[in-house]
């Protein structure tokens, strides 16, 4: 299963992913300059949150135990068997937005104009998700969940190296705790 991973250290909070997600997935004409002229305004399926300390683009995490699927009254939300993604069938959605209340990340959005709920489907039918494609710092990346261990190992090694470079403060603390 492929998911969108975020390199938090690379995100500058520029919101380019939001703009182009709105244009590509929410508009008819599919270009930014044309999308902003449409009514109702296109809604992006990714949202950048954060402040001075950092920013983070949030979109559907496609939880393996997805509360939104359990909450959906009409069965509009379901898991795509092939990709493993949580997707929404717009023809079945009645716009009750129960799913928006149950989503732990707050990344399912009500669309009052279209009377449905909107969420990221990782641009399932495109070669690459548009947010990943347009990110200017490559903070977003499509990651194979099976290969996530390699990524996490790399991160752990990075953390270790940073600690060692800083005089091994963290390691000493662990040693101290052990001797106590």
């Amino acid at each position: 299963m492929k998911v969108i991973g975020v390199h938090m250290d690379r995100c500058t909070g520029c919101k380019t992913c939001e703009l182009y997600c709105g244009a590509e997935r929410g508009s008819e004409k599919k270009t930014l300059l044309a999308a902003v002229q449409e009514t109702p305004p296109p809604q992006p399926r990714v949202r950048v949150e954060g402040g001075l300390d950092g920013a983070f683009p949030l979109q559907c995490r496609h939880c393996l135990q997805a509360p939104c699927i359990d909450a959906c009254l009409t069965g509009a939300l379901r898991r795509d068997e092939k990709s493993g993604m949580v997707i929404i069938r717009e023809d079945l959605c009645i716009g009750c937005w129960t799913c928006t209340a149950f989503c732990p990340y707050g990344v399912i959005y009500p669309s009052p104009k279209r009377k449905i709920a909107l969420k990221c489907d990782r641009c399932l039918y495109m070669e690459k998700p548009v947010c990943v494609d347009v990110c200017p710092t490559k903070a977003l990346e499509v990651v194979e969940l099976e290969g996530i261990e390699d990524l996490l190992r790399e991160r752990r090694l990075q953390t270790l190296n940073v600690m060692l470079a800083n005089g091994g403060e963290g390691i000493r603390l662990l040693d101290f705790e052990r001797s106590e």
Partner: protein, 480 residues
Amino acid sequence: METIHFKTVDPVSQELLRYASRKGMCLNWERYEKQQPQDGFLRLGLSCPYGCMQGPCRIDPFGRGAQNGICGLDRDGMVAALLLRLALKGALETAAEYPGACDAKIVWSAPLASRAAAALQQAGGDSVSHADILESALLLSRPSATPEALVRQAIRLGLLNIGLREQRRADAAARDVCVGYGLLAGEAIRIGVTGRIPRAIIETLLKETAGLNHPEVRLVSLGDWIPAGEEFLPIACTTGEAETVLSSGILNLILAGDGTDPGILALCGKLNLTVVSHAKNAEAAEIVKRARGAYDRRVENTFTPDTAMIGKGRVSLAATEVEAFLKGRSRIALLGGADTLFQSLGHLPVELAKALRGEDHDVASWGDAALWMMKQDLSVGILDAEDGPLTAVRVLAETGRLPALKGICFTGLRNAREFTFALGLAALGLKVLVATPLPLWGSEKVRTKLRENLTAAGGVLTHFDHPAQADEILDGLLRS
């Protein structure tokens, strides 16, 4: 490189691009691709231009996020301010080129005076002067003015831009110009010239190299229109192709003036190509000596252009010559401007010129667009690259034949000055089309206000929310 035909219509340039790609050279096209997508907020005009140091603020175009800057500025105010800032930059660039011209009130020449008066009446006030530049700077110090006022001020700067050129109008004799890769053919020491070079340096160099043989020494421009004696310096390529030509390794030395792109200088560094900056005051003999040294150390070059690839033209600089060209023509389109990587290089100028001529229109051109038309041997009038369509407009106005002018199209804009120029022409009541998207799509109100103001003066500024296609431009010129 499978999309190479999207980059340029010139087959020789396509071959050179393939060569550069094989050699791993990063040219303007690669940089352009790496820049995609470009900042969406700025493209829409929704990135605040005030520079108050609390920002940068921007506004969510989809209405979900921030709808106001920290100071409370809304989207209309932001887009209008960006429009004014662009116009101010354009006016400043022109004012810098004509020092002293804007000290007093602009006096319009007879044919344009009535149009300017009507336009100024719409834009507030009966005259423009350098005070408008200061007024605009004040308006952009804090966001207190209304979008309407900012749009009007931008239009005034557009008119000032035209007026400044009118103050320094000077008739000069026509000059011949030739363009094309054929200028690089054969055995020669080749000195590429780029940017703004003082005329004296070019004259001295030409004297120094005159009569030199075995091999001869050639000065070629890389897209700039540089006066040289009774002619223009031969132009090897358009500005958009400058790096492509450089990457071929056929040049022996570059003489760089102000305004040379950093990409060109970086490429010269990569190619170990000697660059002489005009600011260093190098002697002509020294420049030639260094070029000869580089020529002696050259390795065999695979780029051997055909000598036949040379287009020729005659640039009408004086009003009388422009008048002679336009005389008796009942349908005229002015079509010119700089190369832009938004479009396949050469595509719009060539296609439009052919289509317009097919529709019984006479075409006059300037800038890179004119070079493309000359390269294709299209019979069109060539206008001064600096003045663009202004001389032709003045001549048509003088002879009462402005209705014959079906429109002015800028196929590309190279700087804010050209944008302000287009704005000024539309303010004078002319139909102007710009093929490059303008950063005004973030506010419908600003676009409407701009359109209303221009329409009241009889003008139109058509711009598109995408790089315009040839048929859209044709529709604008012929049918609307």
